[in-house]
């Protein structure tokens, strides 16, 4: 059973980790966009 739970947990860790990187990238781009608007 531990292998089964490990597989399900690891699957969601991979997906959540990837979504986490997307959130970070989105936040950075929003910041850069605001800086550009302020400068112009």
């Amino acid at each position: 059973m531990s292998y089964l739970y490990a597989a399900y947990i690891v699957t969601w860790l991979i997906h959540i980790g990837y979504i986490g990187t997307l959130v970070q990238r989105y936040a950075r781009l929003r910041r850069e966009m605001q800086e550009l608007k302020r400068e112009s």
Partner: protein
């Protein structure tokens, strides 16, 4: 799509929760493997979703090579990332199933090796896009994607044409499966496809946003260098 995104996200999460419940609780236990076989409800749908995204990457790359369409290039990079994520899930869940069933984590047979090679091809595709610059980069990446896609039929058909350690095809390959298992299998596949397409759409929007910011930054720096001091 922007307004529908939160609703679709909630529906997809509910679908994923329901399909996980069906896989872990409702699906009958396998007579030979016991409960560990339930890993296939995540492993196989992840593999099929991986194929979907690498196929999208292939089509978008071909469109880019023919028409030099920048939206197709953005679709290609988003699909490649999604494909690599699902490929990683396949490569991790496979050994977690193999260890208790085969007694080994990994074997260098053609299905497993070609799947690892597929992962390496698309990781190198993403590294090429990440660390090179210049106008030729999308062209090089699209060419690599077209050649990389040649590995997909090898991965898919390897269990048809070669004797491998990997189980033979159950769906569409002459094998049999309990209809209840098949139903839950297809449900999980549908749930992962919906989840993947939702994240893919977001990744595509992010890519378009990134390009917009980069273009504006380049324009700003060009204007700064040309303006009199």
């Amino acid at each position: 799509m922007k307004r529908a995104f939160p609703i679709l996200a909630v529906v997809t999460l509910a679908l994923l929760g329901y399909s996980a419940y069906e896989a872990l609780v409702v699906a009958p236990t396998d007579r030979l493997q016991g409960d560990v076989y339930r890993i296939i409800y995540y492993h196989v749908p992840s593999a099929w979703t991986m194929f979907t995204f690498f196929a999208i990457n292939f089509v978008a790359s071909v469109i880019y090579l023919i028409r030099r369409n920048l939206k197709a290039d953005a679709v290609a990079v988003a699909a490649a990332e999604m494909g690599v994520v699902f490929n990683t899930v396949v490569l991790v869940t496979g050994p977690l199933w193999a260890r208790p069933v085969w007694g080994i984590w990994w074997t260098w047979d053609i299905r497993l090796t070609s799947t690892l090679v597929l992962w390496l091809i698309y990781v190198s595709y993403l590294l090429l896009r990440r660390f090179s610059s210049g106008g030729q980069m999308p062209l090089l990446a699209a060419t690599l994607a077209v050649f990389g896609a040649l590995d997909m039929p090898l991965v898919y058909f390897s269990i048809w044409f070669f004797r491998t350690q990997h189980p033979q095809p159950v769906v569409g390959g002459g094998g049999s499966i309990d209809p209840r298992m098949l139903h839950i299998w297809l449900l999980n596949w549908f749930a992962f496809e919906c989840f993947g397409l939702l994240v893919f759409w977001w990744r595509y929007r992010l890519e378009m946003m990134r390009r917009e910011v980069e273009e504006t930054q380049e324009l700003e720096s060009l204007l700064e260098t040309r303006s009199p001091r």
